[in-house]
């Protein structure tokens, strides 16, 4: 039995087994980015990977679709060991794993339509009509059907990230990997992008793994969190679980953030209540 397993009955959608990764630094030293981490992630949840910069959270995320190949250990997605697949099999498997990035990474010389259609044209032989219908569907999910013929340069940051989300959703992935998806966005835009992500999780059942250093993002979105420090997994907990004491500084900070947020909400409600009679009088 894996002690990390959160719902022992169902097999996890993603299982990292003792994965490690080292990088050679330019000055010749070796940097251990991830040190033998084992982690299960259950299907249908929103899973947060948090940690300070350099803690290895991004590397860990990128191991899930093997953008970063672990030096040791296994990566199982939906029961398949990705590290043993041929190049071709890996390409096919990656279709089922969507990914979005901090810098959006859209094709600048392609329209919104062409960007979202991109993954659909890579594999298989979908007809033009099928592709068009799917692109429309995905843009409807992110609320951008009117931007079909625009180019990314004509969009705001939030709109660009929405196009990236639509692109990631196009091939019907089971998992959506998010690498600091809101770090380049302002507060307002962040909130609406997070709303979209939550909706995708709830309505389409897509499992979401999100790397972030912003605690309010974790608080607003995640239901389960793993904390990384110096390439090691230090703890994992349900965000709703306030009773179990947190081991890591970041975990405690997150709990405080939650308390603070609750107080703010309460205040806001009280202010609204107090203001009501005056607005009625005016």
């Amino acid at each position: 039995m894996n002690p990390n397993s959160s719902s022992p009955s169902a097999p996890p959608l993603i299982r990292l087994e003792a994965v490690s990764k080292t990088f050679k630094l330019p000055d010749g030293r070796v940097f251990e980015a991830v040190k033998s981490v084992s982690l299960d992630m259950a299907e249908g949840r929103i899973f947060g990977l948090i940690g300070k910069s350099g803690a290895g959270k991004s590397t860990l995320l990128r191991m899930i679709n093997l953008l970063e190949r672990p030096d040791t250990g296994r990566v199982l997605v939906d029961g398949r060991d990705l590290t043993r697949l041929s190049k071709r099999e890996l390409r096919e498997t990656r279709q089922g794993i969507g990914m979005i990035f901090q810098q959006f990474n859209l094709l600048q010389n392609a329209s919104v339509y062409e960007n979202v259609a991109f993954p659909l044209k890579l594999h298989g032989n979908r007809s033009r009509a099928e592709i068009e219908a799917r692109v429309q569907e995905c843009l409807a999910v992110v609320g951008l059907t009117d931007k079909l013929h625009n180019h990314p340069a004509q969009l705001s940051g939030g709109q660009k990230q929405r196009v990236a989300i639509a692109r990631a959703l196009a091939p019907h992935p089971k998992v959506l990997l998010c690498d600091e998806p809101t770090s380049a966005l302002d507060t307002e835009t962040t909130r609406s992008v997070l709303d979209t992500l939550r909706e995708i999780n709830q309505r389409l059942g897509v499992t979401i793994i999100i790397v972030t250093h912003e605690l309010h993002v974790v608080h607003a979105l995640c239901d389960h969190v793993a904390v990384l420090e110096n390439g090691q997994l230090v703890e994992r907990f349900d965000v709703g679980d306030q009773a179990t004491p947190r081991l890591s500084a970041l975990g405690r900070e997150l709990a405080q953030e939650q308390v603070r947020e609750d107080i703010l909400k309460e205040h806001a409600a009280r202010i609204a209540q107090a203001a009501e009679p005056t607005t009625r009088a005016a």
């Binding site: 390409r91 990656r94 990035f101 990474n105 094709l107 600048q108 010389n109 890579l122």
Partner: protein
């Protein structure tokens, strides 16, 4: 003002020369695009941090490209005479001159392509990998597409350089506008012919550069 007798006398030859120049340029640029282009992409992909990273292969290819590029064109022209004879059957005329022109154009363009493609953000290539794109799909649908205005400008630079290279080819009886300039303008001291050919080259360069800039601008949606 009437045209000088010198110019009237070479007028029929001038049309032939312009045709020859375009032929040399056309063959040289075609070779550059068809062979130099893929070579440049390969150089990029073999380079440090890229998907086909292979240091020995990159160094060997890079060394070959540098070596060919280090030949002064006039030396290449002469050194390749035996090869030209085998390929074309003769070592004079515009078709023969197209051989050294192509040999010089291929590594030149390969380097320009490699540089243009380097401008494509890493993250975009990575996103394509994450979506399961193959190397070939990435080359066409990401690298060429994202770098296309840079590639057009690279081709423009190449065309302008090779317009003057094609003029050097006149030295070995290569024909073309430059040949005319040397034979009449230089050897026979017909300054008016010299001025005419130079003016013609200036106009050609302006047209090429203007066309290249306009096309690159139209293709750039960034």
């Amino acid at each position: 003002m009437t045209m000088s007798d010198n110019i009237l006398a070479i007028l029929p030859e001038l049309w032939v020369a312009i045709g020859q120049t375009f032929m040399m340029l056309g063959i040289g640029l075609a070779a550059a695009i068809l062979i130099g282009g893929p070579l440049g992409v390969l150089l990029f992909l073999l380079g440090p941090g890229q998907s086909l990273e292979n240091r020995p292969a990159y160094l060997v290819l890079s060394w070959i490209v540098n070596t060919v590029r280090s030949f002064p064109f006039i030396i290449l022209l002469v050194a390749l005479v035996p090869v030209t004879r085998v390929v074309v059957g003769t070592s004079i005329g515009p078709l023969a001159a197209s051989v050294p022109l192509s040999v010089a154009a291929i590594p030149y363009f390969a380097r320009l392509v490699e540089q243009s493609i380097r401008e494509v953000p890493r993250g975009v290539i990575e996103a394509a990998h994450a979506m399961g794109a193959s190397e070939l799909q990435i080359v066409w649908r990401v690298l060429v597409r994202e770098a296309r205005s840079g590639l057009i400008l690279a081709l423009t630079v190449l065309a302008v350089s090779f317009l003057s290279y094609s003029a050097i080819a006149g030295v070995v009886g290569g024909g073309g506008i430059g040949d005319l300039a040397i034979r009449y303008g230089y050897y026979r001291f017909q300054t008016d012919v010299m001025l005419l050919t130079v003016a013609l080259l200036i106009v050609l360069v302006q047209i090429i550069q203007f066309g290249g800039n306009a096309l690159a601008h139209r293709l750039d949606k960034r």
